[in-house]
Symmetry: C3
Subunit: 352 residues, 3 copies
């Protein structure tokens, strides 16, 4: 169960409400049965809802004491006795919806904290919550029901749409954002890109960074991640794109819709991603690349060239996954082998 100190509960809820949230049909006789909340399959009790994350967890399901389980039709018969089977197309999505039924995200508490600093000509939509010590610069515009956390900074002239959540210590300058955008703690949006020119005397002169950051609807930027503004023109994160924590996005990077960028990834300036590109943790992309839609880039990959749509690459330097796995296998074999004066690396022998 979620700790009530941190997660107030709307429960108990009747199964009818649970099924409605999940988009599942249930036997009418069960509709009034009440549940307290959600839990993992292995820990759920009779008053809790769990979900089955694929066939590999069938054993856990059979042993589960959960009162109800969200699962797909083909696995529904595996639910043990006493556990109501809630059949859905995506148990994970349904679980998200049911969890949000029990623990809805706290609605904004309308008002401006007395310690907040609001600039001249700021427009706040209906029902915004502005937290302690938040700073909103002159001429900024926020839509309805935005939550701006403690110490957050929205710079002069920025625009955010409705239902945005700017968590504590996040900052955004030179930024235009859509609806339902979330910036997590300490995210840095719109900082100066890394651009400078050397002088003949060996000094560096900053090239004025005169662009913006455009965040599409439902973009999320993780804790302490950085998205630099464009040098000229814009850095763009397409609608639904999600960045995990400690990600670096260089100036003039452009992503399409629904890209997923895992923690500690770095993308250098002017690289462009299509839609639904996924990049696993700690991968790095050099600048000015083109990454096709639905391409998948492996953890710690070092991408130095374009990637075609739908292609899976990994390794540093990156290559197609099949090749990288083979190369890794060879490398392991090399590792298991005592080096000698001979092949493959030593003094050439015979005709080699």
């Amino acid at each position: 169960m979620a700790d009530p100190r941190f997660y107030p509960s709307s429960g108990p809820q009747p199964l009818a409400a649970v099924a409605a949230a999940a988009g599942a049909r249930i036997e009418e006789g069960l509709a009034a049965r009440v549940f307290r909340g959600v839990a993992p399959l292995a820990e759920a009790g009779p008053g809790e809802i769990a979900f089955l994350d694929g066939r590999k967890h069938l054993d856990a399901l059979r042993a589960s004491r959960a009162g109800a389980v969200l699962l797909t039709a083909e696995l529904a018969s595996a639910a043990p006795e006493g556990c109501a089977a809630l059949v859905v197309a995506s148990p994970q999505l349904a679980f998200a919806q049911v969890a949000a039924l029990f623990h809805p995200h706290p609605a904004p508490v309308r008002g401006i904290h007395p310690t907040a600093t609001i600039g001249a000509g700021v427009t706040l939509g209906e029902g915004c919550e502005i937290g302690p010590h938040a700073v909103i610069g002159d001429g900024a515009t926020l839509g309805a029901r935005c939550q701006v956390g403690p110490h957050a900074l929205l710079g002069p002239g920025v625009v955010f749409g409705d239902d945005c959540r700017i968590h504590a210590h996040a900052s955004a300058v030179c930024c235009l954002a859509g609806h339902r955008v979330t910036l997590h703690h300490g995210a840095r949006i719109g900082g100066e890109g890394f651009g400078f020119a050397p002088t003949p005397e060996g000094r560096f002169v900053t090239i004025p960074q005169l662009g913006r950051v455009i965040l599409g609807d439902e973009v999320e930027v993780g804790a302490n991640s950085c998205v630099d503004r464009g040098a000229l023109g814009d850095t763009v994160l397409g609608p639904g794109t999600r960045l995990d924590n400690l990600v670096q996005i260089g100036h003039n990077v452009v992503t399409g819709r629904g890209c997923v960028i895992v923690a500690q990834v770095g993308i250098s300036g002017s690289t462009r991603l299509g839609d639904y590109v996924t990049i696993a943790g700690q991968a790095g992309l050099t600048g000015h690349l083109s990454i096709g839609s639905k391409a998948r880039i492996g953890a710690q990959a070092g991408v130095q060239g374009d990637v075609a749509p739908g292609q899976d690459v990994t390794g540093s330097p990156a290559m197609p996954v099949k090749d990288a796995l083979r190369a890794a296998l060879h490398l392991r074999k090399l590792g298991a082998r005592k080096p000698s004066a001979g092949s493959p690396g030593g003094k050439p022998r015979g005709e080699d």
Copy 2:
């Protein structure tokens, strides 16, 4: 010598006090000799204490002008004339203790800065120091003598034990912490994990993250590091675990006691570490792994499988250190060799 603008000194101190702090015995005739502070072996003068960090620095010891040196019994005879030998089991540990004698960590200055924002129902232990613009949420509980720096945020309901240090700009939400826990500047504890489910239309729906972060006694989290809270259940850093700067800890990661995690490491969700695991800089661990106690993971390693207790791995993908060194050696040899149409990669030929 430490800059007195930043490090007030308790000195001068008699050698008797130094020896007591270090747990060293000294000749009685030296007990009253006074010292001003600590310094590296190469720079210490007659009024300063240095330490010998192993046999490889014996030459530096012989040339040193230090007035006293902390060293092990077997190397004690190497101290030059005029340099008092303070024999201890661990010179490094003794040095830490002697340095803290001269420059004790500033005690909290009891009180709440007038610009701080303290929520309803907050419990502060005896002697806490709450800095300017700090924010403590409703119902939070802090033990005795905690120091909360400027702009730090402790969210509603969090619990911290005695003698915790929350440095400037750090934030902790959904967190239960033990005694003597330290969060360095900009550390982010308890943010939402990276969990979401796709809809049929290609949108992503956040899976409510309903867990907590549990920090054991004496845990330290480095500057701008991020520890996400559990999705369901908890993310746990065991007692004494230390994270360097810019580290990423995913939701539901669990570490044992005394793990050491160097800068820019990333650990994905639900991976579990035993006790005293060490992970060198920039290494990455995928999710749902089990890393045995006292395992050691090399810098930039990419760990994609379980690691047995006491095992040393490195490389990306990670393999046992001995194998990785050999593989690297082979790779260097390959690098030194002109590629040809033949082996090792091309069409296989005859005797290769």
Copy 3:
């Protein structure tokens, strides 16, 4: 064109002023022609100035509608009709100067925001701007015309020279900085280094970190980057050194003049860099290394040994670039090759 909500313009400007800013000579007849601003070659219109970044963009130049272009003498004849050629030694540098003519960095607005907290004995130079909720500790000294952003923290006793820019949420403690130093959003200067000694009982005792951070003139530290202070002695970034975002600098690292350190690089304790060293993104350097002047370290490189002046290395473990490229080529070939029981890893066999 730069968005006027974020970038107020000094334009229009006569070409004479543009040429003066760029150090270019122009035909007298053109001096009075006016321009509105700067733009990329492909987007610039007749009222805008672009620059030619080398021969590879000659086609873009020929197709450009720009009213004027900054370029080198040898390419000047390629400017299309109606596009004034402004001949300069470095078009990139000249572009930086012209962009700054149209969009000068906003001068500090002299004054201390009423929500800022200024300690006892603070010295502020002429014309400083201290933003909302900024905190300046006792005894700190700032030169003339410094800008301290919202929520920034300058700790007790720190010293900054003239014309420094401390952006929002940045913090600096135990730090002495020169003139024209810039800390970007959330940069962390002077935190405790990662130093501790184990006790016989398996606890870790922090070794007091008693050094400072010294930042030379014109140093820049990127968003959310961390520079730990020295353990004993100092961490030093030499004049003109630039750190991108999310960089980690360990205690007692010393860099020379004009080093360029790209995003997410990590440098471990006590490593020393000469002048004009460049380190590409996500590279890692272990501690106590010596990196010679003008050495260049590739993206994601893992440097475990000294690097000679002027040497280029890459790969993990790092090797000379030429060797690393060859090794990568071999690795690609290995990847393209089906593994077998035979070579290159197993027992060599005749017919393989």
